[in-house]
Symmetry: C2
Subunit: 363 residues, 2 copies
């Protein structure tokens, strides 16, 4: 049975990427690596739409978030954390774990953050060193309006550093670090970048580098400066996840060939197709549709059905792998992801299977 992997990352790998993964090891201090690293970095800057530095760390996306905190902040400094889902909560937890005075700004799960509320909260908190925000919340299936939020943040005196968790958006949903003033944007290799997990990728603005100079949290493995110094000679300070780089070189090439604008449009179209399909079954979206994400669709499941059963039946009977709810949403929603090279046909298969499994869902 062919597998239709529809979780919000890792995403199915294009055949060309899989083939690249099978390449044998090379010297990570040699000329072949330098050319690989240079090519990947250039491709990443294209997808990041940035002229900022782009650093590559061997870690999951969460490692990249931790790296952002320990490189730019000091214990006791204030950070406003926009929270409207599981990953906003994670930003908050990481900041707190390192002694940052994290101030939560919570919005109901399923809604996007209101820029004006962010502005007010920044002013009320006073002297916030950073604003931590999740661009796309896979836990609730929403995308925050990052452009409007950054604008609101920059409208105050002494605007905070803007640190963005873009793990599930970058390369699928428009994000412009330079234009919008995002100081750090963190993503990972296994989502829209269509490579296996293992690398976290981080853009760092000049303003972030200034903050780096003053930040006092201890760091070694995550050290941005070390990463930048090595990147200047197309190396990494520590042995990187080479196979993932092999895959990433190929997937970045695919993205470039398709063109970023086309990739964004494709994600928008397949997301819209999915939402229409879900609604055609009489099911409702979990989030307010105004904020609905183009990478993952969260669907309310009527209390008459068990989400774990739906998930298991889709997997066992159809080879369709989707995700359930996290935290408070466990048992209440299912999440169907459409990140990467996904087609309307693949989404139609999911809708058709759901239709068979939930015959009464219209009732």
């Amino acid at each position: 049975m062919p597998i239709n992997l529809r979780i919000p990352g890792p995403v199915p790998l294009p055949q060309e990427v899989r083939e690249a993964l099978a390449q044998d090891m090379i010297d990570h201090r040699g000329p072949e690596f330098a050319s690989l690293f240079g090519e990947v970095t250039e491709g990443l800057k294209y997808v990041f739409q940035t002229k900022h530095d782009v650093l590559i760390l061997t870690a999951s996306g969460t490692g990249g978030l931790e790296a952002a905190i320990v490189n730019l902040l000091s214990p006791g400094e204030k950070a406003l954390v926009v929270i409207n889902g599981f990953f906003g909560e994670r930003w908050f937890e990481i900041a707190r774990a390192f002694g940052v005075e994290a101030i939560p700004l919570r919005f109901p799960w399923g809604l996007g953050a209101e820029p004006e509320d962010v502005r007010k909260a920044l002013i009320k908190a006073g002297d916030c060193k950073a604003l931590l925000i999740t661009h796309n919340e896979t836990s609730t299936g929403i995308t925050n309006d990052l452009e409007a939020i950054t604008k609101a943040a920059y409208s105050i005196e002494n605007p905070p550093l803007i640190l963005v968790d873009a793990v599930s958006s970058l390369g699928a949903i428009d994000l412009r670090p330079d234009e919008w003033g995002c100081d750090v944007v963190v993503t990972a290799s296994q989502k829209a970048l269509m490579a296996p997990p293992g690398l976290s990728i981080i853009s760092v603005s000049p303003r972030a580098w200034e903050a780096y100079e003053k930040a006092k949290l201890p760091r070694f493995y995550w050290d941005f400066r070390k990463a930048k110094e090595y990147a200047l000679r197309n190396q990494t300070p520590f042995t990187p996840a080479l196979s993932v780089l092999f895959g990433l070189r190929k997937s970045l090439k695919l993205i470039r060939e398709e063109g970023l604008a086309v990739v964004f449009d494709r994600h928008r179209a397949v997301a819209e197709f999915t939402r229409q399909g879900v609604k055609s079954l009489g099911l409702s979206l979990f989030p307010d549709e105004k904020w609905a994400s183009n990478t993952v669709t969260a669907v309310r499941i009527p209390p008459a059905f068990r989400t774990d059963e739906i998930i298991e039946r889709l997997r066992e009977g159809y080879g369709i792998v989707i995700a359930g709810g996290q935290g408070a949403l466990k048992g209440k929603i299912i999440r169907i992801a459409h990140i990467g090279r996904v087609t309307a046909e693949e989404m139609a298969q999911v809708i058709a299977a759901l239709k068979e499994l939930l015959p009464c869902s219209r009732s």
Copy 2:
């Protein structure tokens, strides 16, 4: 030209491992992953020769070393660091970066650490919370006598925690965490484990877990408890480097089929073959042969030759990739690694090429 990759990691991948890498992604929260994770963990315990917990983090080996520090120590606590090479210095730097009072115990590069000196230094320093040691120093081509050193450390009152960097030894050179009382043993996927880089693997003793409870350094991504809690249900807290796990499952199977004792013997034999070959050219080993490593051979290069030229000519003319010296040894030595499934024929090729390149080396 076929490549003979003879750097001390990443090492060439067995064909079966490369094939496993090309597998498509799976749900890291699903049943297929649970079975993968369980199988890999069991295989790792075999290679680690341990009943301690074995944790898997997505990071390079250095990430694993940092994890050991931040999980077990507190700022201001003393740690004695055995340093007789580049990686001993790295242990020292990591400990210092996190505010540990790191006390260096340096031995000349090329020699192993003297257990009696370690014992005396521990007593002199007094109240050392930890002893940090590098089992095998690829920078100088020596293996420390870890068994004797742990014995010396345990002979004092209130013996320290023993934290071992075994990145370039574990799975190639005998190491018995339980028998010798190594509280944390850190390795990485790309050395004797014959998978691509991307995973750091760490054994944690009951004594280390006690220390964890009291350790005050901040941690999130590296948190051992989180890793253990997830491992109990065959998951990881954060999306792991899946492809590397696919490869590791296969390579661990190969090691198990061959048998660990045979693998150790094979490394010993191929190392001995390499040392004899080097000496037959009139070249001398960098380290005192008493301490010579079975995973990497460091060779003094007479001042008449340029190491960077030798390295480049081997690569360009023979497809042989070796490493130069690090730090103070740059330009003075070359390093030829023999980790993993390496054959005497492959080492003979290196010796033969060196013979052609260094015609006067006997003079």
